[in-house]
Symmetry: D2
Subunit: 202 residues, 4 copies
Amino acid sequence: MRKIDPTECEHLVSSIELMASHLENVAKILNKEDINSMISDIMNANSIFVMGAGRSGLVGKTFAMRLMHLGFTSYVVGESTTPAVEENDVVIAISGSGETRSVADLGKITRDIGATLVTVTSNRNSTLGELATTVMEIPGRTKDDVGGYLERHMRGEYSQLTPLGTSFEIASMVFLDALVAELIVITGASEADLKSRHAKLE
Amino acid sequence: MRKIDPTECEHLVSSIELMASHLENVAKILNKEDINSMISDIMNANSIFVMGAGRSGLVGKTFAMRLMHLGFTSYVVGESTTPAVEENDVVIAISGSGETRSVADLGKITRDIGATLVTVTSNRNSTLGELATTVMEIPGRTKDDVGGYLERHMRGEYSQLTPLGTSFEIASMVFLDALVAELIVITGASEADLKSRHAKLE
Amino acid sequence: MRKIDPTECEHLVSSIELMASHLENVAKILNKEDINSMISDIMNANSIFVMGAGRSGLVGKTFAMRLMHLGFTSYVVGESTTPAVEENDVVIAISGSGETRSVADLGKITRDIGATLVTVTSNRNSTLGELATTVMEIPGRTKDDVGGYLERHMRGEYSQLTPLGTSFEIASMVFLDALVAELIVITGASEADLKSRHAKLE
Amino acid sequence: MRKIDPTECEHLVSSIELMASHLENVAKILNKEDINSMISDIMNANSIFVMGAGRSGLVGKTFAMRLMHLGFTSYVVGESTTPAVEENDVVIAISGSGETRSVADLGKITRDIGATLVTVTSNRNSTLGELATTVMEIPGRTKDDVGGYLERHMRGEYSQLTPLGTSFEIASMVFLDALVAELIVITGASEADLKSRHAKLE
């Protein structure tokens, strides 16, 4: 067994602190009109479909699962028993860049069907941003990077501490879970209601 | 189309702030010896397997994907081409309660094979905690709940703001991504290295 | 580029012929009472859940998808938006040996909930066979192997031609698709009905 | 509980017999040059990637799993730890029509990367057929339908007995498992070798 020199874990701790700080910032600058539009889209939909590639797709699955717990009819695009999208459905696309090719293609089909398309992205001016009926912008790395917390505190280590799409993916997951909190209040669901729908076979 | 009364989004904002505050707390109280033990397990393993049920399983997938980006040989238990676990491998089980039945069963098999078992959990004194060679404790809801931020600020709304296992799931995801940051420094990987391994077909 | 000696493909051709012959045999010896019992379980269920490990699990997913196309409410155990099983639901477990540990564990939970458990297996006298309310036996390798087509024609090459659970997995898939054919007639569904429910986002 | 009239299962039995007959036909008319080309592509590849949408994608997963059992490095496009495709890799696309949009898009990217693309399809003259370096044609419904077994025996019930892509999906699965049989002989693998790589955590 190779001996690994013990680390002071300073990068790990900095990375968590950086995400905490990023989330505080996100809480302040989210656009409330967009949030209300997204809530309205979800509440009015017949069924809610979630899609995304890679880690954004996994974040989408955590959200679709909670929507089911809340009593909504929700599906993940690409899973086995996901049916055809119809006009009265909403499709929620998650893509940091807003340019993920396959997701953008499905976004176009969504609009052709006449269904509502919500894009959760850090880039409003993107293919998926422009296709969407509602754009829910989650500040990701680019926005943060300039003259903010990162420059002041992280001395350029940002790409090590939250590489690739990490900051968008975590911020999206926290945002979507916070949206669940809002939906719990709106629908009057209790934690026991959620638990009763939670899979018993797992 | 039903008209939904616009909301001030106060529960959504509180939920994000609560998670940010929780993460700051997590950054402070993580056990550095456990982290070093987990890092050593990963660095010494032939292959790294990740498993978990439900949302914890999805968090596990985001971590396994980043390990692959970093150049490690990593697998998700239950995916199509995941091979047999062997003695020199490490299996990382993610379970807030440490009691998820199917995951605990696989944890026992892992130990019978002679492989290393790391349990990421908020409950050290659990079946998976006791089976593990390394327990990586991530404070979840219970720990936070007493006399801390929640009681002082949230006045009992905690279960609405981060229902079920939400706080553990997000804290695990942020912790595991922060562990990736530490591993980036240890292995000397650059963001370009990670990007070069990122799936091109998605 | 390595030059691979061209093959006459005789093992490939023999393997397909062997499966064709096996299926003809399966068509003859399936127990019609069991089939009617399984049809009745499906028609009476509120929701239909399908589960299995490895390749049997993938066969289960192809069946769950077709049930959805047919208009049934169907789910795959372990997918993101699969809800809690309830008393009026049926759970279909697919396991050649009938002994797959995790599936058997979930079979027990299914019965504890009071839901109907159908086991599709080549081994009636197994844990999952004994737990089930309906056992749908699909002859697999063992049954076939003695004094039948294989001994007469294959001269002991059987394990090469359909290794591990291959013959059960294919026979199950063909059987379940044939059950879909029967359900199409019973429900009066047209191919156009099925197509209209087929996922448009894929 | 609703009483379902017991059925003589004649459609179910006919559907299995039809598939058996179809497979016998497939065994006769498969192009051996294509098979040898596909075997050579697989044997020479660094890594083997499999992709497909819906039920074809599930068939692809059963094949990727067996390739891993055989000792090949294989991945399923879209799973968590699937890395970047590189020049010396082969990508196997499964699509009955050869026109599945997202799969065709990924086929284009595969060729742009310079990797080998094998298309398993019932339609050689399709987008994926034309993109491929090797086309492995599996006769599906169309081919069978004219003047053959179906017309003579099934009196137009074909679309009920094997609706949508069923006959292609099953024929592909049986073909790919038969290809595994051929690869077992070529590589000299024993069933015990396969079993030793089979997932122990499931």
